[in-house]
Amino acid sequence: MISQIGSLALSISGGLILSNFFFLFYYSIRKDKIFLNVSQRGLIAVCFCVILATLCLLNELLISNFNLQYVSQYTSYETPLFFKVTALWAGQAGSLLFWTFIMSIYSLIYINVTLRKMPTLKYSSYIMLSFIFGFFLLLSNFIANPFQPVSSDIIVQNGNGLNPLLQNVTMAIHPPTLYLGFIGTTILFVMALSGLISKSLNFEWIQSIRRWSLIVWTFLSGGIILGGYWAYNELGWGGYWAWDPVENSSLMPWLILTAFIHSSMIQEKRGMLKSWNILLASSTFLLVILGTFITRSGIVSSVHSFTAENLGPLFLAFLSSLILFTGYWFVKRFDTLKSDSKIDSFTSREGGFLYNNLILLLMCFIVLWGTLFPILSEAWNGEKIYVGATYFNQLNVPIGLVLLFLMGIGPLLSWKTTSRSTLLSNFKIPMLISFFSGVIYSIFFGPLQLYPLVTCMGIAFTATSIINEFRKSYKKSKSDNKSIPSAIVSMLFNNRHKNGGYIVHIGVTLLFVGFIGRAFEVEKEFNLSPGEEIYFANYIFKLNSIESEARDNHYAFISDIDVIDQRNNLLTSLYPEKRIYFYWNPDPEKRQPHSELDIYSTMRKDIYSIFSAYDAEKNQGYFKIMINPLVNWVWIGGIVMVVGSLFAFWPSKRRNYGII
């Protein structure tokens, strides 16, 4: 019954979208406001229908209605309640509905808050929103309908259950967070283009789109970091980033969005780069759709597989129409995009932002080129050629290091132009500290590896420069405030945009601290029987025992490894497990092994252990140990970045920050 309601709600929303096009068409001819209002209500109704449909699917997942194909594919009676909820986005059909669900929530906010303040954007926004909703509803209604029943000749006794790899709290929050970021770019696209079409790229518009972009950026950053965290803690290859096409697809919009957040600041302050900003804002959404196309079409081999229905051609058609639409209006409105002023000097804050844009754009190009290279090379001469992690690192690492220094240089530059004397006095301290930290680093670790050394110097340079900024504004606020805490609070809250930005930058420098660790990773694979030990990377790994245990939904072999340091002290015990899910299934093909890792994690390094195979006959375990230095700094950096951007846009009572 509930599933019929959900299915009906999906069909109705599809119908409403169709009728919306008629109303908008009438409005374009008659210019009668009533048609515009009707189409607004139509869109709101669509949003509520989609929300209803999502709730219906959620209900079916919770009550385990195995008459639905989707429910029986991703849940079983044994699936814990929490993961029955997350099964909502575990598969293709569900994740598409979930996508539209999030888009509905964003659209409701956009229509009721943003458009109320800027009514000139209404007409073109409604057209674009209807088109985008139309596309996703087409998919949900006709191609990947989550309410599709199982074929009529079978009875499902129990569902398949959720993949054990996905039964993890991080994996439960990573996709929705990333989705909130991805789908938020829809609003940026709609807003950028409707501002362009209706010629209302005023101050209010740029402020509002900047706030939207910060919200989207926060979710996107959080989602990417969580994805890395999940991969690191669950997948067992010891890393958090592999330059896989799916990962790249999330990185590209992030890079462009970051570029937009910086370059839109120049438009806000000096009225420049209008055309550029329109391109950046709309490209984030286009890159999201391109990424979705890449990951859901299977044209690029990725370790993440999306096998079911092939949505590739549809996404390609959707993407092409969006690009054509953007291109058409960009050319048609190009004359309205003239700059109010000019850039005066290489050594100005504006210049700094431009270099930032150049670098982010280059990184995006390199990632895009590498991701699409198999397709491009095949089209070129029929040879499908992949580029590996070496390509991405070789090109992106040096460029990323320039970006790191640039984050420190930016605050030292003044708007319009920086005089030579200011430049020298501003650069003096960060340069000195950077130099000394380089010397100290070389003494401790040797200067042989170039990149870690330069990264270390860059971190010192940028951190000094940012801390110096905080010091300056603290001095200013200290003169107005008496007590130290109130001076700090008023310093932080006085210019939240700027301070939030600096906090994000500190987060990025912490990320780079984590990246240094990549250069010093070591790993070893070996086999041990209980009682045996092995020496590796200045530690002794001693296997005490391998126990086995039948648990609720799997069978586990649990190893017990003591890690003993050089002074013969017991550092920690690690318990990596080998689990067999569906072990009760008589068909061994349907059982699924899973290695549950154990990590001993400190600020300096992680000891990462994997129990990869168990030989019952010989009572022997196969293990892999990795020593990964500084990984925790990546997560800390990520948290600081998200906190910084939340700080920058969190609504406050004093000023009306609530405008979005």
Binding site: N163, H304, K384, I385, T390, H594, A613, K624
Partner: protein, 135 residues
């Protein structure tokens, strides 16, 4: 045009050209690896230092060394063509008959000595329903 814009565009163009050069012209083995179909490889006589091949694991072809479980050989197939792969190291959890794999390594003497073995990650866990009763 403004001096700053010109120089920025120049830098951008240079690095773009460098990227294209690295991947297309320089034929650098450490950066790129060509994807072959098994059919293509079967016709090759000479050895190739780096290849990438995808396919399914041939049922009952997995043979694990008794004394060292990290050593494995198996056949990967596409349609009717199949090719022997040997690999030493930890295998992914999803490694089993008919699993979709991507291997990379050296091609020599009609088989692949793989240095990389990946199974398709199960971020999408799709498949036939397991517990059903036909009516």
């Amino acid at each position: 045009m403004n001096k700053i814009y010109t120089s920025l565009i120049l830098v951008f163009a240079l690095i773009v050209m460098w990227t294209v050069y690295l991947t297309n012209v320089k034929n650098d083995d450490s950066l790129t690896v060509r994807y072959y179909t098994i059919e293509e490889l079967l016709t090759k006589e000479a050895s190739i230092t780096k290849v990438k091949v995808g396919g399914l694991i041939k049922p009952d072809s997995i043979s694990i060394n008794e004394t060292d479980q990290l050593e494995v050989s198996f056949y990967v197939y596409q349609g009717s063509d199949s090719l022997k792969v040997s690999y030493y190291g930890i295998r992914p959890d999803l490694f089993k008959d008919d699993a979709e794999v991507v291997v990379a390594g050296a091609f020599d003497d009609n088989s692949i000595i793989a240095t990389e073995l990946q199974t398709k990650c199960a971020s999408r866990y799709e498949g036939d329903l397991k517990n059903i009763e036909k009516i």
